[in-house]
């Protein structure tokens, strides 16, 4: 797998969809390919976020460490990005990421990433758009959930009467 292919993968990530190709290649070039054996921890919940990982090959489990023990909440596959929120908002990791089978990922370190965001407004705009999409999607999910709750409440009170 070469830089060119990594670039192709990066381009398919909605986050980077609008970024110029040369900048995206630069990002790929500055990033580091990392291989993880099965079960290896990519990043741990609560640790400071220092990089995002773009899955190139294999799969990764997203695990939440709750009081009742770890719960796998999702499994991500090729072309998906994990850990991007932590580097954007300087927050600790909100979940543990663990390799499921052999995993190869592109490690996009926070420092060069943020630097590019700061220096290339195009990139910031496309990230903003992607985040706005996510918020919108979440809003409509929230609205749907609220409607559901309201309906349930209505039904319950109807049943009680």
């Amino acid at each position: 797998m070469s830089l060119q292919q990594e670039y192709e993968v990066l381009r398919r990530v909605p986050f980077f969809a609008e970024v110029e190709s040369s900048k995206l290649k630069l990002l790929a070039f500055m990033s580091e390919r990392v291989g993880f054996d099965d079960g290896k921890i990519v990043c741990r919940q609560g640790d400071p976020g220092d990089a995002a990982y773009l899955i190139i090959d294999g799969a990764a489990d997203i695990v939440l460490e709750g009081p009742a023990g770890p719960v796998t909440v999702a499994t991500l596959g090729a072309n998906e990005i994990v850990g991007e929120m932590a580097i954007l908002c300087n927050a600790p990791r909100n979940a543990t990421v663990r390799a499921k089978g052999r995993l190869v990922a592109l490690r996009i370190a926070k420092e060069p990433f943020m630097r590019m965001v700061r220096e290339f407004p195009n990139m910031a705009v496309s990230i903003m758009q992607e985040l706005a999409h996510r918020v919108q999607a979440m809003n409509s999910q929230l609205q749907a959930a609220r409607n559901e709750v309201n309906q349930l409440r209505a039904r319950m009170s109807a049943a009680a009467e």
Binding site: M1, S2, L3, Q4, E6, S22, K23, K25, L26, F29, M30, E32, R33, V34, G35, F36, D37, K40, V42, V104, P112, R115
Partner: protein
């Protein structure tokens, strides 16, 4: 090994230096000067005879009529007579040459010895300077005095008496000859000498004064250069280059003016001399001619006098030159000596004496009414008194400027109190020789000085007091060494053998070098410095010729590591070197060479321009492909780094084309016609060729290094090895699984491969495994030992300040002083490291005295006693618990942090 202590040698102790160059000469070389004079006198008759002989040959042998002639009791015919005289002439030439050769050699030797003595005396005096001296005076001014300024004295000293005698004698002889010919003419010849003798010194005096100013100004130039070098960062950071340049240009201008003035005056003196010199023949022609015409003087006599006068010119000129040289040398000597006489010098006896036994400090340390005045008469330390036991750990706290720094210096005897005194067990510390103070009292400052050289030499500095064990010279070198030392004695130098073993093992509390190594490792551990030095060791080199055992053991470690990687299932973390496989974690250059370059010829960066490498690439037909690869790399790089500003940090971090070179590659890419690389100039092609050499397949992930290319690079590797000329083999340390590679680092030798890029935690896991393994194999200490050979750079500049502080602490600890004084010695360490070092030192100095001027008051908590300084006075003292109350200065100091 027998461990008899040889009697301690004593160095020559010279307390004063002669105030004038003639006294210096007479004091130290009277005998040699007399010998030279005698030799010169003996040589005179031969010289005279050799001047006289040609006349005999011409007049009697060639032009003679009466033969046979008597010679050496023989009656000789004309031809044998001529030949014999010519033989004598040849012999005389030989004898005269011999005299000259011998006298010149003797003069040279004498001058060199005296110069050596003078330099040595200056250097010894330098060591006696109070350390505070160089706060006011730059060392750059001292350097030229010892190196270049005194150089001319050597030549002068050799000539000091001989030259005036020789040339003066010649002069007098000729004058005498002239007086014999005709007293009038003789008087005429010397008539102008009194005038010259009066005027010239007068003129010379002014030149001397100018010379003095010139020397001072040149010293200022040296000073400026040194300051500029030291403050280069500040100059660039503050854009003050133009100001500095103007300052410098001004200094140079001053020198120019002085020099010009000197030239004018000097050449005027010359002019005057020449004029006067020509004036005398004027008298000869006019007065002599008149006398000849009047018949009062024979014509022959006038010619003889004229000829003699020509001979007079040379010695007279020599004498005048000597006079100037003499003036110059006296001046230089005076100017140097006056700079080497600062106030408060350490007594020479105290500096150098080596007492038979060095007593340990015992009893109480009592400080009574101790004061130190600054230059401006301010009281830096003001009437401080306290007593403490030599087993206490004492903290000194206070703000900066409170006097704690000066108090620490006074206690270490690095500053001389202006009043009061320090006693240990009743003995005045000021009167102890340095042999006692320097071994029984330790001192470490916040900005310790490390000497250029290895870390080991710096750590052992405090153990090198005098040669403990004589060097084990072979017969040959022993003789040479003995001769060198005898010569040193001739020049009044110290005659200790620098090649001897100077390490005071006893002082370090160990029996031999091996125990010392263990002790050093222990001390480094206590001070938290072990990991750093271990790191130096991993990056350091081992020469299998001088340390075959260690090299063999490191080879074992290589095997063991390979097995360990297999056992732990992490072979993917290290890509081992294999002659028949391309190493994708190594650069193209490394793959091609398959070894470590020794020296500059096959340096990785220079590989693409190396003739032999290009030849190999041509041979395997790889040149064109690599140039193409270079083009692809250049294209990618110019694309992705295109709109970054030149000073962008990404260039430094990620690009292997520098920002300044990028436009050049852009031009080259633009110059390619029709996709045909042959259209480029040879130079441009070579530029492109240089790019792929830096590529690391696993790291850079550029398409150009595909499997086929790797296969062909392997072919090139084989061709490179096969055809390599015999004489070039020494320039590469080839990778060989069975051999230790002297050119590669210890770590590379053990790994025998590259840590893999792109394997999670390879960069942390591999070093962990390596460290575990080395501990198991008991090689960890050996690696630390290699790390001790790490070169610390000029003034320790290759170490961080924290590392320098730790090295200085280790140096202080190793000599096991009875009293250790630390002056903010850990100020560069972070909190955690600080605690570790403090604990380590408390453990080390259990039962011994530790006085620590702290950079933070809160650190005083763990000490037996706290001294609180303020305004030069000792304001509070006692146990920390006693001082830790609401109104105390201690509390205030802690609150201020």
């Amino acid at each position: 090994m027998s461990r008899e202590t040889p009697p301690k040698p004593t160095p020559p102790i010279e307390d004063s230096i002669e105030p004038s160059v003639y006294r210096f000469i007479l004091r130290h070389s009277l005998k040699q000067q007399i010998l030279l004079l005698i030799l010169t006198l003996i040589s005179f008759p031969f010289l005279y005879y050799s001047l006289d002989l040609p006349k005999t040959i011409v007049n009697h042998a060639i032009g003679g009529k009466h033969f046979p002639q008597p010679l050496f009791g023989l009656e000789l015919e004309q031809v044998p007579y001529l030949m014999t005289l010519c033989g004598v002439f040849l012999a005389l030439v030989f004898v005269n040459g011999g005299f000259k050769y011998y006298i010149n050699t003797l003069k040279g030797q004498l001058g060199e010895r005296m110069l050596r003595r003078f330099r040595y005396a200056l250097y010894q005096r330098l060591m006696r300077f109070p350390p505070s001296y160089f706060q006011k005076m730059s060392s750059a001014q001292i350097i030229p005095m010892i190196t270049t300024e005194c150089e001319q004295l050597g030549g002068f000293i050799g000539d000091a008496f001989v030259l005036p005698l020789f040339q003066g004698g010649q002069l007098l002889t000729i004058i005498f000859f002239m007086f014999v010919q005709d007293p009038m003419l003789g008087a005429a010849a010397v008539s102008l000498y009194p005038i010259q003798g009066y005027i010239i010194p007068k003129l010379q005096r002014k030149v001397n004064q100018l010379g003095k100013t010139r020397i001072r100004t040149v010293r200022m130039v040296a000073d400026r250069v040194q300051e500029t070098a030291a403050g280069l960062g500040e100059i660039q950071a503050n854009d003050t280059a133009k100001f500095q340049l103007s300052h410098f240009a001004h200094l140079l201008g001053t020198i120019y003016d002085i020099r010009f003035e000197i030239y004018r005056r000097k050449f005027f003196v010359k002019f005057l001399n020449n004029f006067i010199g020509q004036l005398t023949p004027f008298f000869f022609f006019s007065i002599g001619g008149y006398l000849v015409i009047r018949g009062n003087l024979s014509f022959g006599a006038l010619v003889a006098v004229l000829a003699a006068y020509k001979d007079l010119a040379s010695p007279w000129k020599e004498l005048l030159d000597f006079y100037q040289n003499n003036q110059n040398s006296r001046l230089t000597y005076d100017q140097i000596v006056e700079q080497f006489d600062p106030a408060n010098m350490v007594d020479a006896e105290l500096l150098l004496a080596e007492p038979e036994t060095i007593p340990h400090l015992s009893g109480e340390l009592a400080v009574a009414n101790l004061s130190l005045s600054g230059d401006d008469k301010s009281r830096l330390v003001d009437g401080v008194s306290f007593t403490l036991g030599l087993d206490e750990h004492v903290a000194i706290i206070g703000q900066s400027g409170s006097g704690k720094d000066e108090l620490a210096l006074l206690l270490a005897r690095l500053a001389r109190p202006s009043a009061g005194r320090i006693t240990v067990g009743g003995a005045d510390v000021a009167e102890l020789p340095l042999a006692v103070v320097g071994r029984r009292i330790g001192y470490v400052s916040a900005t310790p000085y490390l000497f250029t050289g290895t870390l080991r030499d710096n750590l052992l500095l405090g153990l090198r007091h005098y040669p403990v064990l004589p060097a084990d010279h072979g017969d040959e070198t022993a003789k040479k060494r003995a001769k060198q030392l005898a010569e040193a004695r001739h020049a009044g130098n110290i005659d200790f053998d620098i090649g001897a073993d100077w390490i005071d093992y006893q002082g370090a509390g160990v029996a031999d070098a091996h125990e010392l190594s263990l002790r050093i490792a222990e001390v480094l551990g206590r001070l938290g410095f072990e990991e750093d030095v271990y790191g130096f060791g991993l990056r350091g080199q081992v020469d299998p010729d001088t340390s075959p055992e260690l090299a063999a053991r490191l080879l074992e470690a290589r095997q063991a590591l390979a097995q360990r990687l297999v056992r732990d299932g992490i072979t993917n973390l290290v890509e081992t070197y294999d002659l028949d496989r391309y190493n994708s974690n190594a650069s193209v250059a490394e793959n091609l060479l398959f070894g470590t370059p020794v020296g500059p010829v096959f340096e990785f960066d220079a590989l693409s321009t190396n003739k032999y490498v290009l030849q190999v690439l041509d041979k395997v037909g790889l040149t064109e492909d690599l140039i193409e690869a270079g083009r692809d790399v250049a294209a990618t790089m110019t694309e992705i780094f295109a709109d970054l500003p030149a000073d962008h940090p990404f260039f430094e971090q990620y690009s292997f084309i520098g920002a300044t070179d990028l436009p050049e590659f852009k031009t080259i890419l633009g110059a390619i016609d029709n996709n045909d690389l042959k259209t480029l100039s040879e130079e441009q092609r070579l530029r492109l060729l240089s790019l792929p050499f830096k590529l690391v397949a696993a790291r850079h992930r550029l398409d150009v290094l595909d499997a086929r290319m790797q296969e062909r690079l392997l072919e090139a590797r084989r061709a490179f090895r096969a055809d390599l000329p015999e004489e070039a083999r020494g320039q590469i340390g080839f990778f060989d699984p069975e051999q230790y590679n002297a050119a590669a680092s210890v770590q590379d030798n053990i790994l025998f491969g590259k840590i893999a890029y792109g394997e999670a935690d390879a960069t942390t896991r591999v070093p962990e495994v390596l460290s575990e393994l080395l501990h198991e194999l008991e090689l960890h200490t050996s690696v630390i030992d290699v790390g001790l050979d790490h070169n610390v750079g000029t003034a320790g500049s290759r170490l961080s300040l924290g590392q320098r502080q730790r090295a200085a602490l280790a140096r202080g600890v190793l000599k096991r002083p009875d009293l250790m004084i630390l002056n903010e010695a850990t100020s560069a360490l972070d909190g955690q490291a600080q605690t570790k070092v403090m604990d380590g030192l408390f453990g080390e100095f259990a039962g011994r005295c530790l006085i620590w001027a702290l950079h933070r008051a809160t650190l005083a908590r763990n000490f037996d006693r706290v001294l609180v300084m303020s305004g030069g006075k000792l304001q509070e003292q006692g146990r920390f618990a006693e001082l830790d109350h609401k109104d105390s200065l201690t509390t205030l100091l802690m609150a201020a942090e």
